[in-house]
Symmetry: C2
Amino acid sequence: MTEPSGGRLGDMALGKDYAGQDCNLARALELVGERWTLLVIRDALYGVRRFGDFQAHLDIPRAVLTERLQHLVAAGVLEKRRYQDSPPRHEYVLTDIGEALWPVVFTLGEWAKQHLPRAQTHRIYRHTVCGTELDAMATCPTCGYAVPPRDVEMTPGRDTARADHVSQALNRPRRLLQPVTD
Amino acid sequence: MTEPSGGRLGDMALGKDYAGQDCNLARALELVGERWTLLVIRDALYGVRRFGDFQAHLDIPRAVLTERLQHLVAAGVLEKRRYQDSPPRHEYVLTDIGEALWPVVFTLGEWAKQHLPRAQTHRIYRHTVCGTELDAMATCPTCGYAVPPRDVEMTPGRDTARADHVSQALNRPRRLLQPVTD
């Protein structure tokens, strides 16, 4: 799975693996550290499942999205499921392994919200069981445990400037993992 | 801060920013999503502070490491401090903003340990106050709160194969953020 070296400074160390780094974090980054990959996983947590929906929301070239989805399917983070036979159409659904990335996506977003100047107070995440806003560790302060994504309701903090249909769907309160396109 | 596009598939979308992505996670990835950057932050959490120590442990070209450190200093994640005047020498120390990335680094490493086939049961992290092993959310099950890195003791699960002096220092139990080189 190594790629040819490009001319960017960031690629001087060749490819996308970290062969010399004897560390779980390095193994994780070989998979989710590629450009766009964590945003694909974020979208899957938001309920995006179909190629066209990922593309509309991420606004990236088809070839990049295709490669990222294939890589995540091969790693067992996404499952490719046929939802229509004629013509054949597939969707990409998070596996349990993929859903387990929720704390990573959440804590990184919260870190940006708290500490980066260009970040926005944007979406609000609440525990559906009790309505309490999650703390910075994706834990419910009322119930005292880490909340899995299917028990999280997301409310947009303000309207997005984006006009694509996925952005518009995400402008309304919704439960995580609930499919954006039915 | 945009870079010229290279030939890699991953770079087809040009540069390292996610200008169209109206999202805190995208802002975070513009900073910590660059190749090697989260491993630099991991090392800083382990107590690595000096250029030569980062280089020995990460084994990356000087130009890449220089660029990553400069970017993190400019963003307020690392502080550059002079520790010797003649000749002038500097070290790179995590700021509060940088230390706040600990849950991200930890949850991503734990995810890999639990879910990726090539990951190893490697380092063990314990709360120094009570000796309890942290759970997957970097929380102490005994004390019931998220443990900051300066209250975490790291124990190697097995010896690393790496021979550099930083790897050897990390083969002994140590508190996070405690400088590797004194």
